[in-house]
Amino acid sequence: MTKSNLTRRGLIKTGAATGAALATPTIFTGAAWAQEQGFTNAPTGDTVTLGFNVPQTGPYADEGADELRAFELAVEHLNGDGSGGMLQTFSSNALEGSGILGKRVEYVTGDTQTKSDAARASARSMIEKDGAVMISGGSSSGVAVAVQGLCQEAGVIFMAGLTHSNDTTGKDRKANGFRHFFNAYQSAAALGPVLESLYGTDRKAYHLTADYTWGWTTQESMQATTEAMGWETVNNVLTPLAATDFSSYITPVLQSGADVLFLNHYGGNMVNSLTNAVQFGLKEAQANGKDFQIIVPLYSELMARGAGENIAGIPGSQNWDWKLENQLGDRYKGTNAFVQSFGEKYGFPPSQAAHTCYAQTMLYADAVQRAGSFNPCAVVEALEDFEFDGLGNGPTLYRAADHQCFKDVVVVRGKENPENEFDLVEIVEATPTEQVTYDPDHPMFAGGDLGECNPGA
């Protein structure tokens, strides 16, 4: 026996809608059609293409691989395959697992090589040849700033991956660019009180800083925060990005009168500088009658893995951690759903780089769905001042003034006795959003202008 879904009420509604559509002057439908065509890479078929631009070669290739896994998982969930992941917990219910605006999601990938010019070339290729309507990914602020600029010019949306420099949503912010990941200022604002409670207010800090945009803004943020709580900055030494051995930078530290060393390094730089600092006995050293301390403002799970046992006890900050929901409760809902999906598919927990890329893909898809259009300007409007929850970070705001996400920041420490290679950090606290929020015209973010959204063609 079959059952018809046709009801009298449904028939009247359908009839009315059809009649209204037929009666609508063509100028309106024509305008809508033009709007859907009047931007770069407007999807015309039954699919839409997203471009994932990650480091597939070079020093951050492992991080890039984890980002690609997350993108692949996000696309799977958007298309209604797999377990659904954070679609089940996302506070916005616009996405239904049927693609984006009914179009099946496809993707192309590019290799940034962690070089700005290579990243721009691969993004350009994905936009011009593959018809990507959105670009996401990256594991370097230099790359993110460069690709964001390109996307602004090309008229596509850029959903930044792992980029932590203040400049990405500060002096280099762009209307077409959005960042879910936190930034150097927020790291410092979250770490400050924790450092004060751990090490007191009378400390002398020495900074070793990677000589590029991320290093500069991280050092500036940490110095401002620690000096505000009474610490003195003894020195800041810029180290070349290509440096591999940091012994000659480490040896002057103990003779400088400092009792804290900040390693404003990322990736291989951080692994080597921390290893060298531990080799030179800084972890066990005494200075000014206190135990010497090493601090790494930002580190990832992969970096912790590279540093091995040297990371034990070292404080730092993260955008997200896979243990958040289990340890800090329902506020971080979405975390377990994502970890479950990711873990079942790949066999290990996701990194924070993977998480931010997954979240960015979902946020983009949701914005398009809510806007009812792939037009970048409609997406910008939908994302600006968008408040959401259920993506693992707790309640979050995508601020309109600078396109930066505001959410809790996770303060972590290297675990003393990890059980396995995925258990290298322990959560110290999740710093509430209010504590890491700043004005859009804060001096560390000044000089930038979002400008107008660019729909391109």
Binding site: A61, S248, Q255, T275, Q279, F280, E284, N310
Partner: protein, 343 residues
């Protein structure tokens, strides 16, 4: 004074790696006349011999611990290394702990073999080709080798610690009459320096005091005459290529506790090592060693706060600056011989 002494130690330590790589480069250039841009890759392969042995020792079997759960809520899989099961937890843990020094035993045959295959399989076809061709093919080979390593081991650095007894630092200054706690130096870096001196001494001793070495030196000076005397000099030079590869490999093995190895580490050293060879004098073995240590020390001093304060950025250019000055004043390098690369 202590600060100067520390920087000299740092320089000698850095210079050890430069000197060992440059020594191998010079051996190959001096014997076979080949400019080997894949030499950094040999250093990297040596380092990954240590990583491989560490992995072999850590090869584990899995048991299920029902009392604990993993991150997905499934019963925890506990890994136990076979060596701990076979030899007991203490001896097993000691074997794993000594992975790096033990890797020397693995690296010597592996590197000799890699060197032999590289020379016979590829480089011998380029002996009569211009140096530009040799540079291109060996550079290409270096890229292939590092991508192969990346495929199997990933791009992330892999921690490869020294044995427990050599970890941490010692008050080296006290031994030399300094006040306590002013010249603290990592034990393994001192080990590396002593190891490098031993290898350098062994290579020079081999060339100086053995018949094989004498023939090789004669071949380096006048290949044709040695050939006319009925000596198969090509075979000896092939063996020298293997020895040069082993020297680079051993330098890589012992370097792993200093900085966790990654696939790119060879390239990081390659350019600097070539500058070392050029400054020391193309084809001069003592020149390569001298320049290695000299440039290591200069680089260390250029990285100090006062040097950077005096000339910002000096830490990034010092080696190239010295190379320019040396080449302007002594075009053949510090100890270069007449006629090398001057045809």
């Amino acid at each position: 004074m202590e600060a100067i002494f520390l920087q000299i130690l740092n320089g000698l330590d850095k210079g050890s790696a430069y000197a060992l790589i440059a020594l191998g480069l010079t051996l190959i250039f001096g014997t076979l006349g080949v400019v080997n841009f894949a030499h950094g890759a040999l250093f990297m392969i040596g380092a990954f011999c240590a990583v491989t042995l560490q992995r072999i020792f850590n090869a584990s079997f899995t048991t299920i611990d029902e009392s604990r759960t993993d991150f997905l809520g499934n019963p925890m899989q506990v890994q136990t290394p076979y060596v701990e099961a076979w030899f007991g937890p203490e001896i097993g843990a000691s074997i794993i702990d000594w992975s790096v020094p033990l890797a020397i035993l693995l690296a010597i045959p592996v590197m000799l073999l890699v060197g032999f295959i590289m020379e016979r399989g590829l480089i011998k076809h380029f002996y009569k080709r211009p140096h530009a061709d040799q540079i291109l093919v060996t550079f290409g080979l270096a890229i292939v080798l590092q991508e192969v390593i990346k495929y199997f081991y990933g791009a992330n650095p892999i921690p490869t610690p020294a044995p427990d007894v050599f970890r941490g630092s010692m008050d080296f200054g006290v031994l030399l009459g300094f006040d306590p706690n002013v010249v603290i130096y990592p034990i393994w870096r001192l080990v590396y320096f002593i190891f490098s001196l031993s290898i350098i001494a062994a290579v020079f001793g081999f060339l100086q005091f053995t018949t094989f070495g004498m023939v090789v030196r004669a071949g380096m000076a006048d290949r044709e005459t040695v050939g006319i005397l009925g000596i198969d000099i090509d075979k000896r030079f092939t063996i020298m290529f293997g020895i040069a590869a082993a020297v680079a490999g051993l330098a890589g093995v012992m370097y792993t506790p200093i900085n966790p190895p990654n696939y790119h580490m060879g390239m990081d050293f390659l350019v600097l090592s070539f500058v070392v060879v050029v400054v020391g004098g193309m084809g001069s073995l003592p020149g390569a060693v001298l320049a290695g240590f000299l440039l290591g020390i200069l680089e260390s001093f250029a990285s100090t706060t006062w040097a950077i304060g005096l000339v910002p950025g000096i830490n990034q250019i010092i080696i190239y600056l010295v190379a320019i000055v040396v080449l302007l004043t002594r075009p053949r390098g510090l100890m270069g011989r007449k006629g090398v690369m001057e045809e």
